[in-house]
Symmetry: C2
Subunit: 167 residues, 2 copies
DNA sequence: ACTGAAATCTCCATTGT
DNA sequence: ACAATGGAGATTTCAGT
């Protein structure tokens, strides 16, 4: 018997989504509060399978979060700055310490490890230029092991979506 | 009579949020499906005012969207590329045409007008390097009026949140 | 796996303070 | 402007196919 090919033996579950799952995701990405019934009607299924598919995608981590998107300009967080950072040292320990501080700073809403001359790219949101100056001087630049920092200011938002189109 | 200072005369509504509104936003940002009752319990209010405050924030545009956040690595959209673009011409008409195309390309999930040597920064999500190459050559570079394009590849996601911390 | 219906819980308008 | 109440509608579970 070929045990390897039996599904029951795989410990790590493969997540395979079909077209109905993608259709559900498409609707939920537009509005996380879309009701199960509404989704069921639109994709021509009853509520039970829709409900089960959503629960499965939540459990498998395909659905990470139901988030509320706030208009930053209306809550005194209207200034977006893209911030490039390089470290002086690149040891594993230095990197871990840097990441710890990044996660503690609330102004930083995104941080990526990137290719090129800089090590990280940060997306920073704050009230205005004064607040950014304070962040830059007192928070970012005072992190130990910080090398160069370069700020690119966002003047306008052209497009911003979470909608991934599949297929 | 000093009409200017009368609130009734202002056509554009000032959105003033108090601490309870921020507390509601804080909970909703973590989970857009948090029930009104649950929020009411946590901030020590009944459901009626919580419901009214949420509706008010929806109507005033403070709450832009209830979005479902999908794990891109699990839906074959695991490659993130930050893409810098400069235009050849900077006339208003040329800009408008560019923005139109940007909105039509599903791989581009964010686009900002930025300071510095480039005109725009794009966040692009696709399946793999082959898909990105196709996007770059056949979609992005074939837009008329495109000048320089520079790609920065995201190697790792350190932090990614929608949670803005107020105050 | 999907359907249909029943049970539980949430929303939301009304009423009263 | 907030609390309490009850009908409408949603989620979720369970039987059946």
């Amino acid at each position: 018997m070929n045990k390897v090919n039996k599904k029951e033996d795989t410990t790590i579950q493969e997540i395979l989504l079909d077209e109905k799952d993608y259709a559900i995701l498409h609707l939920l990405q537009q509005n996380a509060r879309t009701t199960v019934k509404e989704i069921a009607d639109k994709i021509h299924l009853s509520t039970t399978p829709v409900h089960e598919r959503i629960k499965r995608m939540e459990a498998s981590g395909v659905i990470k979060q139901y988030a509320t998107i706030v208009d930053n300009t209306k809550v005194k967080k209207g200034l977006m700055v893209i911030c490039y950072v390089s470290l002086k040292q690149h040891s594993k320990n230095a990197g871990v310490k840097f990441i710890k501080v990044i996660n503690e700073l609330n102004e930083i809403i995104e941080c990526y490890s990137i290719s090129g001359e800089f090590d990280f790219m940060l997306k920073v949101m704050c009230e205005d230029m004064n607040a950014y100056y304070d962040f830059h001087v007192n928070k970012l630049s005072s992190i130990e092991n910080i090398g160069h920092v370069q700020s690119v200011f966002v003047m306008g938002v052209i497009k911003q979506t979470h909608q991934l189109v599949y297929g």
